[in-house]
C-alpha cells in the first residue's frame, strides 16, 4: 500500500490524493445521500445541503449549540473527573493487592459487561432529575472502563522488574512507587481515552432519559418539531466530538508511550 501511494503521489500529486479510497467513498456517500434526499420530503430525509445550512444556523447564527454544549459538559467534567479519580485509585489498588482485587472484581467486571443504561431509571429515583443524576450516569458509564484498564496495567507489571527491585532490597512501598506506578502511566492515558468515549455516551443518554438539558434538549426539541435537518446536524456534531476527543487523547497516548502503539 505504501508503494502504490508513493507512485501515485509522485506522478499526479492531486489525483493521487483525490483517488484515495477514503475520499472517494466519502464523496460517493454524500452524493448518494443527496440523491436519496431528492426523493423524500425534507422533514423525513434532509439532504446534505439542508443539514449544513442547519449546522451553520445552530453553530453561528443562533449559537444554540454552544449554550447546549456548555450545559452538557458540566456533567461530563464532574462525572468523568470523579470516575477518573476513583478509577485510578481502585484500579491500581486492585492490580497491586490481591485482597482488594478479589473484593471488587466481581462488581467491576459485572458493571463492565452489563447494560449500565438500565440503571438510569434507578438514578432518577435516587438523585432526582437535576445535575446529580446526570453526573451519576456519566460516572457509572465511565468508571468500570477506567478501573479495568488501570487494573490491567498494574497487574501486568512484568514480574522480572518487581523481582529485580526486590533483589536489590527495595521495600514494598518503593516497588509500588518506582516500578508499578511508572509502568501504570500509559495505561492511565488509555483509560482516559476509553473512559472519555463512554462518558460522552453516558452524558447523552442521561440527557435523553433523565432530564432534557443541553444537547439532549436540542435533540428532543428538533425531533418533536420535525426539524430533522437540525437533528442530523446535532448528530454530526456528536459524532465529531467523539472522533476528535478520542483522536486527541490517542495522540497524547502515543506521545506518552510510543511503544504501545499497536496499529
Amino acid at each position: 500500500m505504501a508503494q502504490t501511494q508513493i507512485q501515485q503521489t509522485t506522478r499526479f500529486p492531486v489525483l493521487g490524493w483525490l483517488f484515495n479510497p477514503r475520499v472517494l467513498s466519502l464523496v460517493g456517500l454524500i452524493v448518494l445521500w443527496w440523491l436519496a434526499s431528492l426523493t423524500q420530503p425534507e422533514y423525513f430525509l434532509p439532504g446534505p445541503q439542508a443539514v449544513f445550512r442547519s449546522l451553520w444556523e445552530v453553530a453561528v447564527v443562533t449559537g444554540d449549540l454552544w449554550t447546549a454544549l456548555r450545559l452538557s459538559i458540566m456533567s461530563l467534567l464532574i462525572g468523568g473527573g470523579l470516575a477518573l479519580l476513583v478509577g485510578i485509585l481502585l484500579g491500581v489498588l486492585m492490580g497491586a493487592q490481591r485482597t482488594v482485587e478479589h473484593a471488587f472484581d466481581l462488581y467491576v467486571n459485572g458493571l463492565y459487561v452489563a447494560p449500565v443504561s438500565a440503571l438510569t431509571p434507578l438514578l432518577i429515583f435516587w438523585f432526582g432529575i437535576d445535575l446529580a443524576p446526570r453526573v451519576a450516569t456519566v460516572f457509572i458509564f465511565s468508571a468500570p472502563e477506567i478501573i479495568i484498564t488501570c487494573y490491567q496495567g498494574a497487574k501486568n507489571t512484568p514480574r522480572t522488574f518487581v523481582e529485580v527491585a526486590r533483589a536489590f532490597g527495595a521495600t514494598d512501598r518503593e516497588i509500588f512507587w518506582k516500578v508499578i506506578i511508572p509502568h501504570e502511566i500509559p495505561y492511565i492515558v488509555t483509560a482516559i481515552r476509553l473512559g472519555l468515549g463512554r462518558a460522552i455516551k453516558g452524558m447523552v443518554l442521561a440527557e435523553l432519559v433523565v432530564s432534557t438539558t443541553g444537547l439532549g434538549e436540542l435533540i428532543d426539541w428538533y425531533s418533536h418539531n420535525f426539524y430533522t435537518a437540525s437533528l442530523v446536524a446535532i448528530l454530526l456534531v456528536l459524532m465529531l466530538i467523539g472522533v476528535l476527543g478520542t483522536a486527541l487523547v490517542r495522540h497524547f497516548e502515543i506521545a506518552v508511550a510510543p511503544w504501545r502503539e499497536t496499529s
Partner: protein, 254 residues
C-alpha cells in the same frame, strides 16, 4: 475466593441494613426485590415483555453478525475496502448512539423494525472492527511461507487467514453480544410505545414501585452478564491462548 464470598455477603447485608433505614421508595430491601421479581415472573408480565425485547435482540444481533463478519474480514484482506469503510465504523463506534433514536423512530416508527435496526447499528461496528483487526494482523510470515509453497490467493485466504481469524470472530461475538444487550436496553428506554421491558420499567417507575423497577434492572444487567459469560466460556474452549484479555483493549479500537 473467600474474599469474594465475604465481599458479596458484606454488600448484601449492607443493602439490607440500608433498607431498614430508608423507605421502600429509596432503598427497597433485597427480600422485597426478590419477592417482586418472583411475582413479575409468576404473573407472566416479565416473560411477555421480555419475549418482545429479546426478539428484537435476536434479529438485530443475528443480522449484525451475518453482515459484520464478512465485511470485517474483507476489510482486513482488501486494503482499499478498509480505507473506504473504516472511518464510518470507527465514527459509529465512538458516537453516542442513543442520540440517533429519534431518527430511527422517524424513519421506522415505534414497532419492532425500529428497535431491530437500532440494535443492528449499535452492534455491527464492534463486530466489523474486531474481525477487521484479526484479518489485518494475520502474521505475514505465515502468508509468505504459504506463498513460497505456491499457494494461490484463494488458498491463502481459506487456509491461512480464515483459521487465524476464527478466535477473533468469537471475540467479536462476545463483544457483540454485550453491545447488542446494551442496544436493546437503550432502545427499550427511549422508544416509547412498545410493550417490552422498557415499558414495564416506565410503568413501575410511574407507580413508584421501586422494588419492581430494581428487580427488572438487576435482571437485565444479569442477562447481559450471563450472555457474555456463555460466549466467553465458548471462547476459552475454542481459543484458550487468548484467555485473560478483557474488553476493548485487545481489539485495538480507535
Amino acid at each position: 475466593m473467600r474474599v469474594r464470598l465475604i465481599s458479596l455477603m458484606v454488600v448484601f447485608t449492607g443493602w439490607w441494613i440500608a433498607s431498614l433505614f430508608g423507605s421502600d421508595l429509596t432503598v427497597p430491601s433485597p427480600f422485597l426485590v426478590i419477592s417482586n421479581f418472583i411475582e413479575l415472573i409468576v404473573s407472566g408480565r416479565l416473560p411477555t415483555a421480555l419475549s418482545l425485547s429479546l426478539s428484537a435482540l435476536a434479529i438485530g444481533g443475528t443480522v449484525s453478525v451475518v453482515i459484520g463478519i464478512p465485511i470485517g474480514i474483507l476489510m482486513g484482506v482488501r486494503r482499499s475496502l478498509a480505507l473506504a469503510l473504516d472511518q464510518y465504523f470507527s465514527a459509529l463506534y465512538v458516537m453516542p448512539m442513543s442520540a440517533i433514536i429519534p431518527l430511527m423512530v422517524l424513519w421506522f416508527g415505534f414497532d419492532l423494525s425500529a428497535r431491530v435496526i437500532f440494535i443492528f447499528i449499535f452492534t455491527v461496528p464492534q463486530i466489523v472492527i474486531t474481525c477487521y483487526q484479526g484479518a489485518k494482523n494475520t502474521p505475514t510470515t505465515l502468508m509468505e511461507v504459504a506463498r513460497a509453497f505456491r499457494a494461490t490467493e484463494r488458498q491463502i485466504f481459506w487456509k491461512v487467514i480464515i483459521p487465524y481469524e476464527i478466535p477473533f470472530i468469537i471475540t467479536a461475538l462476545r463483544l457483540g453480544v454485550g453491545r447488542a444487550v446494551q442496544g436493546m436496553v437503550v432502545a427499550e428506554l427511549l422508544i416509547a410505545g412498545t410493550r417490552g421491558v422498557g415499558f414495564l420499567i416506565h410503568v413501575y417507575s410511574a407507580s413508584l414501585d421501586l422494588g419492581s423497577v430494581l428487580a427488572i434492572i438487576l435482571f437485565l444487567m444479569l442477562l447481559g452478564i450471563v450472555f457474555t459469560g456463555i460466549v466467553q466460556w465458548f471462547e476459552q474452549a475454542v481459543a484458550p491462548w487468548r484467555k485473560g484479555v478483557v474488553g476493548e483493549m485487545e481489539s485495538g479500537n480507535v
